[in-house]
């Protein structure tokens, strides 16, 4: 808007409760809270966008497979290779499969997959919704009596929340295969012996907690990406900013959630 400010009446000075930044932070948190509440309302209220949810699951899940496979496989090999000398010092190289399985299933697979998804999927959501916002495509949906929030936001958040646990389990499997390859080539351990040893230390709680926390990370990535994109402004600069914020905020929250969930799971264990 390039209209000249009204000179006759000076604008009233804005009074802040604490300061501009702190007030802004609380207002943003309130806004995010409203956004999440709206997500739950829209997710459970018909009509449902099943077709778009499946499309988003494909985009989020299937399209991430190459990156997740490569990363998982390399993490498995490298982690095994780096852990071997320390265990060998104590004559405990035979514990390698157990150590690797615990590390991958409990921590590495959920965390690494979530960080990959934050970078790949979160930034994509921020950029895609951001560009739709600044080019008035979201407004166009709104004025044609359709619900852009349900079509764009709800479907994306649901898709990443469903797909991330699946990607995490897949990465766990690929990581274990990478680890097995390294162990097999070095110590000629058989497939059966490796996996028997690996799964001897893994409990149902380990797998459940991995699936649970990856669903939480998925939800976090979805909310951060969609929130930033849905509220993008100031043209292309705003689109870049929302894509960037989507990744930064998701990663920051994932680490905090990891710390909290690990405390809770350890207390249960």
């Amino acid at each position: 808007m390039k209209t000249e400010p009204d000179q006759s009446t000076p604008p009233p000075r804005i009074k802040y409760l604490i300061s501009e930044k702190i007030d802004g932070l609380f207002l943003s948190l309130y806004d995010v809270h409203k956004f999440i509440i709206r997500f739950f309302k829209e997710a459970f209220a018909p009509p449902y966008e099943f077709k778009e949810i499946i499309n988003q699951c494909y985009q989020v899940g299937y399209r991430s497979l190459p990156l997740v496979s490569l990363t998982g496989f390399i993490v498995g090999i490298v982690f095994t290779k780096q852990s071997r000398p320390s265990l060998s010092t104590f004559g405990a190289a035979s514990w390698l499969p157990s150590l690797i399985s615990i590390a991958i299933i409990r921590a590495l697979a959920p965390l690494v997959t979530a960080l990959i998804a934050a970078g790949k999927v979160g930034s994509n959501m921020g950029a895609e919704l951001g560009s739709m916002k600044v080019t008035e495509q979201i407004d166009a949906m709104e004025v044609s009596a359709t619900n852009p929030f349900k079509f764009l936001v709800t479907t994306r958040i649901l898709a990443i929340t469903f797909m991330l646990p699946i990607l995490v389990l897949y990465m766990g499997f690929v990581g274990m295969m990478g680890s097995y390859l390294n162990v097999h080539l070095t110590e000629q351990t058989s497939y059966t012996a490796f996996f028997k040893s690996a799964f001897s230390t893994i409990s149902f709680l380990d797998i459940f907690s991995s699936v649970f926390k990856s669903a939480v990370y998925g939800f976090t990535i979805g909310v951060a990406g969609c929130y930033q994109g849905y509220h993008a402004e100031n043209g292309t600069q705003g689109v870049g900013k929302s894509a960037n914020s989507a990744v930064v905020v998701s990663m920051f929250l994932i680490f905090i959630e990891e710390m909290l969930i690990v405390q809770v799971i350890n207390a249960i264990r």
């Binding site: 009204d6 604008p11 166009a140 949906m141 004025v143 009596a145 619900n147």
Partner: protein, 252 residues
């Protein structure tokens, strides 16, 4: 046609963005079947006006009644129902760029008329594409269309819901004169065939002269004058004269 039925009624409408006062008390009445062109310089709040009419923005004060309902006071459900009767053609066309032309047209239709069969949907799409003369683009992506084609598809997407009111935001901006004439003719065709009442936001005087039954000149947040094209431009106001002279290439 009952020309006395008021379709859009705006009284003392004000809107500010922070310290910027954009609309400073606007009054406007648009009658059934009428095309009203709102003219004015860039940044005078013309687009803000139609965004308020369609419920995309909320006014600071004043009343905006569309088909007898106050858009900023009705419930969300009522607003959605009202929006089915309003078509909004965006300046940027705002086509969904990840969807084909067919999917763009299908999007509002299948979500608002859930009882339609696939054949009915296809028929409705073919019909509006024929009306805007772009049947051949049905499977193209928006990025493959020219500026004029994008505008037409944008209009077709609103027509598919058979609106009673059309809001055009700068329908000819960025188009060559020949394509602009085609869009002007399309606006008149829509008025006639779909029996719509329209507000056309523009600073293209040829568009206003060609399409509008009434012209309203927006200056400094208020309507300077309203009336026929001739009445509005028969003035000594320097800004209005400059507007006219620039558009019709009158050298001083």
């Amino acid at each position: 046609m009952d020309n006395k039925e008021v379709i859009i009624s705006i009284k003392d409408l004000t809107k500010s963005f922070g310290s910027l006062s954009v609309l400073k008390g606007i009054d406007l009445e648009v009658y059934k079947g009428e095309n009203v062109a709102v003219l004015g310089r860039s940044g005078t709040g013309k687009s803000v006006l139609i965004k308020i009419i369609s419920g995309l923005l909320k006014p600071d004060s004043g009343t905006v009644k569309v088909l007898g309902e106050e858009v900023d006071k009705i419930s969300n459900t009522a607003l959605q129902k009202l929006r089915l009767k309003i078509g909004f053609s965006f300046q940027s066309s705002a086509l969904y760029d990840s969807m084909t032309v067919r999917q763009n047209l299908e999007f509002p239709l299948v979500r608002n008329r859930r009882n339609l069969s696939k054949q009915d949907v296809s028929k409705a799409i073919e019909e509006v594409l024929n009306d805007v003369g772009l049947s051949q683009t049905i499977n193209q992506m928006p990025s493959e269309l020219s500026g004029g084609q994008r505008k037409r598809i944008g209009i077709a997407r609103t027509l598919i819901l058979k609106p009673e009111i059309m809001l055009y935001d700068e329908p000819t901006s960025g188009l060559d004169p020949i394509t602009s004439i085609e869009i002007n003719n399309l606006i008149l065709q829509v008025q006639k065939e779909y029996n719509t009442t329209s507000i056309i936001i523009t600073h293209d005087l040829t568009c206003a002269k060609h399409t509008a039954d009434k012209v309203a000149m927006l200056m400094d947040g208020k309507f300077l004058s309203q009336g026929s094209f001739k009445e509005v431009f028969s003035t000594d106001n320097e800004s209005v004269k400059t507007f006219y002279d620039y558009n019709f290439i009158n050298d001083k």
